[in-house]
């Protein structure tokens, strides 16, 4: 790759970040090269632990004190990595701006929004009035016309508004480079699209360089001119968005693309990357992806393959790219092939039957209507999707079906039992309900008791439902095996398991009761794409093998597309549309569904109006 042209604003060479703990040090990021030109958007894509955020922190001098960055990062003729803290302050904000992932934590809860932007403005004395006017101007730039936002605290704003305020603050000193670290990840899809559009517009207006860090390839392809793919602390591939999308030149990139369920059609089976992301420090002397790569050979593990230029602007770290390029191309085509339409009739027994169910939270004071006359059915062996953004009531409904909440109106029948009030149920009924519906929670990091081993958790679930189980241990082993884990994993505590493994354990726990319906509340949304595909495949195979029905609660239409037969679309506590999944997604009727469909990231610039 041409060493940063004359118009390069930021040139990074061999950036390394290490964790220093006394005499020992651990590599977290190794040998990153990166060039950003004015007016260009560069994407950094990778899963968690790939080092992309660390790179952003290193380039703003904000690494924690026990981390150290080495290498070279030239900005405006200075090497950033050798700057003192005092010198950094002249670069941050003015030269390089940073927007963080979570708008909920990025802004101090004790400050008003106007003050946050005002303090970020370039130094200089201003009268109160001019300052206010300036702040207002900045708010308008990020699409906030409402002047009262200035006087509000951040916790009084929605996530999208907060992120806009954050962007305005980050831009207040007019940086020439803006690093956006997952700026839309914590937001709902519709809001995400607005924010990304906003950033695209601002970047174009200002002619600013933008480094977008994201885990979502579709977003990266849609927004960026060029994309760097990070894996386990190093760059594995670089290329123009279009070219990368069309033909990945690294098995990892291919794997990512294959794992990503497409929103516009269903694929026969998601291709997954086996295993989990290694720690960067463990793979410094080899190809970081070798252990998970089907093409791996001796050359991959003997030394760390350097990243090299294949054609203009295309770089890859795959040592065997010349040999396997054709295979990669072939595999890439495969993903795009739609699966045959699946025949499906809602004919089975209805197990969960909700009629005009409503749920109101709060007592005499403030009331929050979470569900407003919702009717949803889930039948035996069906896979039903429940789609909506945060606040739509989808999770509340899921909780009603497993007894974490009770309804306040309407009728909810589960397996023929009227569950008006869970606490009032008879013991036998309760027991039957438990064996009918079980739930898998969103966050595998907190849905397992950290104090208990996997085996303990599963054994408890087993004995709760079948107290007379002879060999609990064997049953636990079976459960583990059924979710693709080894019986040895029973000894381990959740803390040492990867996210995917934990979610498998959580599924195994739910399976212990031998339920007929599994409620999956955003069960894969906290996982990396490659792991997400593994879990989705597991769920699909469980359905095929055991005939379990699903209620998929999710915000992600592409997942719904992959795994459900029938969907309900929810918004603000109501079901706005329902029908066969393909019918609804192919031809949405409700304006909300249409908007949702449009907001789903698509890997081309047109999605954001570029």
């Amino acid at each position: 790759m041409a060493a940063g042209g004359l118009d390069a604003v930021l040139t990074v060479r061999d950036l390394r970040v290490a964790h220093i703990d006394g005499p020992s040090s651990r590599t977290l990021v190794a040998g990153i090269d990166l060039t950003v030109r004015a007016g260009e958007t560069v994407g950094i894509v990778g899963e968690s632990g790939s080092g992309k955020s660390l790179t952003a922190r290193a380039l703003t001098g904000l690494l924690a004190s026990n981390l150290s960055a080495t290498g070279q990062a030239v900005f405006e003729g200075r090497d950033l990595l050798s700057l003192s803290e005092r010198e950094w302050r002249t670069v941050r904000g003015r030269g390089i701006g940073l927007v963080l992932q979570d708008p909920f934590t990025m802004l101090s809860p004790t400050m008003r929004c106007g003050d946050i932007i005002a303090e970020s403005l370039p130094p200089g004395r201003r009268s109160t009035r001019t300052r206010r006017a300036e702040v207002l101007r900045r708010l308008v730039e990020v699409g906030i016309e409402d002047e009262s936002v200035m006087d509000r605290y951040t916790f009084q704003l929605s996530g999208g508004m907060r992120q806009r305020v954050g962007i305005a603050a980050a831009l207040a000193r007019n940086p020439s480079v803006l690093i956006a670290d997952e700026p839309s990840t914590a937001l709902d899809v519709t809001t995400q699209k607005e924010i990304l559009e906003l950033m695209t517009r601002i970047q174009a207006d200002r002619g600013m360089a933008l480094i977008l860090i994201t885990h979502d390839l579709r977003v990266a392809f849609a927004m960026c001119d060029r994309v760097h793919v990070f894996y386990a602390g190093s760059v594995v591939e670089v290329g123009e968005s279009k070219e990368l999308d069309a033909l990945p030149l690294h098995p990892y990139t291919l794997g990512l693309l294959q794992s990503e369920p497409p929103v516009d059609h269903r694929v026969a089976k998601l291709v997954t990357i086996p295993g989990a992301v290694p720690r960067p420090d463990d793979v410094v002397d080899r190809c970081s992806f070798a252990a998970r790569c089907q093409w791996s050979s001796e050359v991959c593990t003997s030394a760390a393959p350097p990243i090299r230029e294949i054609s203009a602007g295309r770089l890859t770290a795959c040592a065997r790219i010349d040999e396997i390029e054709d295979e990669l191309r072939e595999a890439r085509q495969l993903v795009s092939v739609p699966a045959s339409k699946r025949g499906f009739e809602r004919a089975g027994t209805t197990i969960i039957s909700a009629q005009a169910v409503s749920k109101v939270f709060g007592g005499s004071g403030q009331k929050v209507v979470a569900l407003d006359s919702v009717s949803i059915d889930v039948g035996e062996g069906e896979s039903v999707g429940l789609v909506g953004e945060s606040g739509s009531g989808k999770t509340t409904f899921a909780r009603l079906t497993v007894g974490l909440e009770s309804i306040t109106g309407g009728h909810l029948l589960i397996d023929g039992i009227d569950v008006r009030d869970w606490r009032a149920l008879k013991r036998a009924d309760l027991r039957r309900l438990r064996q009918t519906v079980q739930m898998v929670f969103q966050d595998p990091y907190s849905s397992l008791n950290p104090a208990r081993s996997v085996g303990w958790t599963l054994a408890e679930a087993v004995t709760t439902h079948a107290p007379d189980t002879r060999s609990v241990e064997r049953r636990v082993g079976e459960l583990l095996a059924s979710v693709g884990l080894s019986p040895d994993d029973a000894q381990r505590r959740p803390a040492v398991l990867s996210g995917g493994m934990r979610q498998r354990v959580a599924i195994a726990r739910a399976l212990a009761a031998k339920p007929r319906i599994l409620v999956c509340d955003e069960a894969v949304s906290a996982l990396d794409v490659s792991v997400q595909a593994q879990i989705l495949n597991l769920l699909t195979s469980l359905r095929d093998d055991q005939g379990i029905g699903y209620l998929f609660v999710t915000h992600d239409l592409s997942i719904v597309r992959q795994v459900t037969d029938f969907i309900y679309v929810m918004s603000r506590g109501r079901v706005v549309e329902s029908g066969m999944t393909d019918d609804v997604l192919n031809a949405p009727q409700d304006p909300y569904t249409i908007k949702l469909m449009e907001s789903m990231p698509r890997p081309d610039g047109a999605w954001l109006g570029r």
């Binding site: 990025m106 809860p109 603050a169």
Partner: protein, 319 residues
């Protein structure tokens, strides 16, 4: 919160104060009533006693009346802010308290200021120098400080800084003004040691916590000056939890003052409490107990108000 919410909030707390007053005064009264010995035994001590004198004293102190009547008479007077006279000294309870309260408050406030300044200052310093030598030394000092009773520290300071190195006076509260401050320095230091360690520990943890927060990273990423980041971001957010413990600390300092008051012969509320409790000086004891609980409740109320003002999340939750 509008003024109505504030009024409700404050009046609820004051109502709790009244309830506490009734409970405490009754329990104290009852405890003293059932404990062996009466006012007469206190007053006449080991003297020969004539029946006439004993009778006169019984009448004077209403000991001839039933328990509830005695308590009611006390309450009736107390409602008129007449807390009677000390049995030990014969002086009006209010005068006795008034004579000592300024000293105790000054000692408490002095120790409080020392606590807050050194606790927060060193806590912030240690957090910013996390894991370096300064931090290790400060943290080690904290643990010892937390474990050093104020009377041990007091004895130690007295003998080092008043006897071996006669830099500070060994007793008393001085003649007011700077002299009083000078006199109260050693006691205040002894008193503040534990609480400062406590504040330091919490401040350090809170600051370390806040330093990890995204909003601090984001503030620095915007090129804000170090001073502003520390002041507006780190301190303002880290000190909110410290505020909640500061009220408790102040009451600890006021009551815990007795241990250093003893060591340094400072006539304060703490000593008055111990003296009146051990000498069965009921009117005085009642007065001190009520005063101390009032101070504590009011200080706690004050902290809560400051807390509400400092943390908009709480304040705006309702409105």
């Amino acid at each position: 919160m509008d003024w109505k919410d504030w009024a409700t909030f404050v009046s609820k707390r004051l109502a709790a104060l009244v309830v506490l007053f009734v409970v405490l005064s009754f329990v104290t009264f009852a405890l003293m009533y059932v404990s062996p010995g009466t006012v007469v035994d206190v007053l006449l001590a080991g003297r020969p006693r004539s029946a006439a004198t004993v009778h006169a004293l019984n009448v004077e102190y209403h000991l001839d009346k039933p328990f509830m009547v005695q308590y009611w008479m006390w309450v009736r007077d107390a409602l008129r802010f007449n807390f009677g006279s000390s049995i030990q000294t014969t002086l009006p309870v209010t005068d006795e308290i008034k004579a000592r309260l300024p000293t105790s408050l000054l000692l408490g406030v002095y120790a409080y200021v020392l606590t807050m300044v050194s606790g927060i200052g060193l806590g912030v310093l240690a957090a910013f120098r996390n894991k370096r030598a300064v931090d290790r030394v400060v943290v080690a000092g904290t643990v010892v400080g937390l474990s050093m009773p104020s009377f041990v520290a007091g004895v130690f300071l007295l003998f080092v800084f008043a006897v071996q190195l006669p830099w500070f006076p060994a007793f008393g509260k001085g003649d007011g003004g700077l002299d009083t401050l000078w006199h109260l320095t050693l006691p205040a230091v002894a008193l503040a040691m534990t609480s400062a360690a406590y504040v330091l520990k919490h401040t350090r943890a809170a600051v370390l916590g806040v330093l990890q927060q995204d909003y601090v990273v984001f503030a620095r990423a915007r090129g804000l000056s170090n001073g502003r980041v520390i002041r507006v971001y780190v301190l303002r957010n880290a000190l909110i939890p410290i505020l909640t413990i500061s009220g408790v600390l102040f009451s600890y300092l006021i009551v815990g003052g007795v241990l250093v008051e003893m060591t340094f012969s400072i006539q304060g509320i703490g000593q008055l409490l111990v003296q009146s409790a051990t000498a069965k000086d009921l009117p005085m004891l009642q007065g001190v107990v009520l005063l101390v609980s009032a101070v504590i409740i009011l200080v706690n109320l004050l902290t809560d108000v400051v807390y509400l003002i400092a943390d908009p999340r709480l304040r705006l939750k309702h409105g």
